[in-house]
């Protein structure tokens, strides 16, 4: 198991791919709202990643006060970077999550990401407090 996965789990951030007949349904859990975004990045990296390529880094700035929609926008940004920049995200270098949006620096590789994910949808979208932490659901169109 990669060290980054162990580290994320130690910090209580997990992602699961739930069974969905047509698409990919993500369940994300984390002790904080910011952790949900980090877990989403890890899930996306699992879906599209390989293990080669040159190191790369991208900065992301998104506006929006609705956390669930911000999560969709975050994943949409990763879809865009994968398709246009061939960027496979691996880890967050920085994340500032504010009331009106987020700013992030994402490290990864410029590779040939698997062109699996078309979009993040609003179907069954949720982002809520759960058991002292946070849980989110989002369905990806693949």
């Amino acid at each position: 198991m990669a060290r980054s996965v162990v580290e994320r789990r130690r910090r209580g951030m997990t992602h699961r791919f739930l069974d969905h007949v047509g698409e990919v349904e993500l369940e994300l859990e984390a002790p904080s709202e910011a952790g949900i975004f980090e877990a989403a990045l890890a899930a996306f990296g699992d879906l599209v990643g390989g293990d080669g390529g040159e190191p790369a880094r991208h900065e992301v700035a998104l506006a929006g006060s609705d956390r669930a929609l911000l999560l969709v926008d975050w994943l949409a940004e990763l879809v865009f970077l994968a398709e246009v920049e061939q960027f496979v995200p691996e880890r967050l270098e920085a994340l500032e999550l504010g009331a009106d949006g987020l700013r992030a620096a994402v490290a990864g590789r410029r590779d040939e990401p698997r062109p699996l994910v078309k979009a993040a949808t609003l179907n069954g979208l949720s982002f809520e407090r759960r058991d002292g932490g946070w849980r989110a659901h989002v369905v990806l169109d693949v």
């Binding site: 069974d19 062109p115 949808t121 609003l122 179907n123 693949v142």
Partner: protein
């Protein structure tokens, strides 16, 4: 996600139609109807497609019924295989009712030789197809268009490529809507969508997209097959692709815009992915202009892929074979179109469903008008596909629509648990099918058992009077995205 499906089970209307009454759940404006036989209907208990169909029945302006074809399965917002018509001018348009892959569709080419005449050149031909057609991770096609050149494709579809020497004029007439949806506005397509689409014209993409070499195994309707130029033993190539990243981004952009706009029109729905606005509203009209542009891009994409297929045919089989490779037709299965049904103008959303107009329609090419519109139903990888022709029942029962494929029955993860890509490749090759796929993982996800039985799906639409069988095609080689 918790389920909110009504407790009422579908009631049988006739041997191929089931109905969930409007009273089943608060908010339903019309009944939900499913074309299925007993087995296909029972299989729906395993997913949430009926709940999604009930949600569609809540769309403002929906008329008659929310419909599902027999290949229905759970999607996002709309079920795949869903059909909804909203009355114009103020019925809603919902981008989720079209989907992210706007104008995903299929195009069939007929080659001028038989499988027997192809002989030992089968493997070289499939190899050449895989070289000619960028699939999977390869992003770039042969055409790199930007600026006004891309605008021309968004506005005019494949006609803009014919003007550049790609493909043939005769292909345009043999494309649904002549490959050009009206009111397409390149300016309604975001810069981000353009960036995603740049370089993707003439590429297959991933997932269930493919280019398949086939043989006409059986003709059911000689007159229609003759009109379509198909005969038993003949080779065909079926192309399945859509609007690629450009269309995905158009949908992403406009779902968000309509999600924000819905409240202004007093629209409340149980699933945000059904985000919608009146078709006559500024937001709805903007989506329709962008959707039409993305649809034209998709028609152009399949047109460019067909051009690449012809070149591959020429490379392996010679220039005469290339010249005589004809386009049978091209159909969309993710689109919203203004049509006239029941004496009124409606916006027909087809999400994983195919237009299937019957004989006599002036929307059909003159050469096919006596037999009905061609419809192509890809089976799962390794199984048969069908050529159908539209029947009058489609106009009476389903807004001129039939199914679009076999329909998924098993998740991608579930498919991978049951078979590895290498083993599946071995099994397909043991059947004599030449396979080209960039990843074993992607191959396993599209295993034949992950789909419903296409024979059963086609049987239902035929018995329902939506379309009839013309020919059965069996795979000889597949290039997977």
């Amino acid at each position: 996600m918790s389920s909110s499906t009504s407790e009422l089970r579908p009631v049988r209307v006739d041997e191929t139609l089931w109905e969930i009454p409007r009273e089943a759940r608060p908010g339903m404006r019309v009944p939900a109807r499913v074309f299925a036989d007993d087995e296909l209907l029972q299989a729906l208990a395993g997913d949430r497609s009926l709940e999604q169909l009930e949600n569609v029945a809540m769309l403002p302006g929906i008329v008659e019924a929310a419909l599902a074809m027999p290949d229905i399965h759970q999607g996002y917002g709309f079920p795949v295989g869903g059909v909804a018509a909203t009355e114009l001018p103020d019925g809603v348009v919902s981008p989720g009712g079209v989907g992210y892959d706007i104008n995903c569709g299929v195009r069939l080419l007929a080659l001028p030789l038989s499988d027997a005449e192809l002989g030992a050149r089968r493997t070289p031909l499939v190899h050449e197809l895989s070289r000619a057609v960028p699939a999977g991770a390869g992003k770039h096609g042969r055409l790199e268009l930007a600026g006004t050149e891309l605008d021309a494709v968004l506005r005019d579809g494949p006609g803009a490529l014919v003007a550049r020497g790609v493909g043939r004029e005769e292909d345009l007439e043999r494309t649904e809507s002549n490959g050009r949806l009206p009111d397409a506005d390149p300016a309604a397509v975001s810069q981000r969508a353009r960036e995603r689409g740049a370089g993707q014209l003439g590429t297959v993409g991933s997932g269930n997209h493919f280019v398949e070499l086939q043989r006409v195994e059986r003709v059911f309707d000689q007159a229609a097959a003759q009109a379509f130029g198909l005969a038993e033993g003949q080779l065909t190539v079926l192309i399945h692709s859509g609007s690629r990243g450009l269309g995905h981004q158009v949908c992403t952009d406009h779902v968000r815009a309509l999600d924000a706009a819905g409240g202004r029109y007093g629209i409340e729905l149980p699933d945000r992915q059904l985000a919608c606005a009146p078709a006559s509203s500024p937001e709805g009209a903007a989506y329709l202009r962008a959707m039409a542009a993305a649809a034209n891009f998709a028609f152009a994409n399949r047109h460019a892929l067909a051009d690449a297929v012809r070149r591959a045919v020429g490379s392996v089989l010679g220039p005469a074979a290339e010249q005589q490779t004809r386009q049978v037709y091209d159909v969309a299965h993710n689109v919203a179109k203004v049509e006239r049904h029941g004496g009124r103008d409606v916006l027909v959303h087809r999400k994983g469903a195919t237009r299937a107009f019957p004989a006599g329609s002036d929307e059909i090419p003159a050469a096919y008008r006596a037999v009905g519109q061609p419809v192509f139903i890809p089976g799962s990888m390794g199984t048969a596909s069908y050529v159908l022709a539209g029947e009058p029942g489609s106009m009476e029962r389903s807004f001129g629509t039939t199914c679009h494929g076999a329909g998924r029955a098993l998740s991608r993860t579930g498919a991978r648990k049951r078979i590895g890509g290498r083993e599946l490749r071995r099994q397909l090759e043991a059947q004599g099918i030449v396979v080209r796929c960039p990843t074993d993982k992607g191959l396993a996800e599209e295993a034949p058992f992950a789909y419903k039985d296409v024979e059963r799906v086609v049987d239902v639409v035929e018995r329902a009077g939506l379309a009839r069988r013309v020919a059965r095609l069996v795979p000889l080689g597949v290039v997977k995205g």
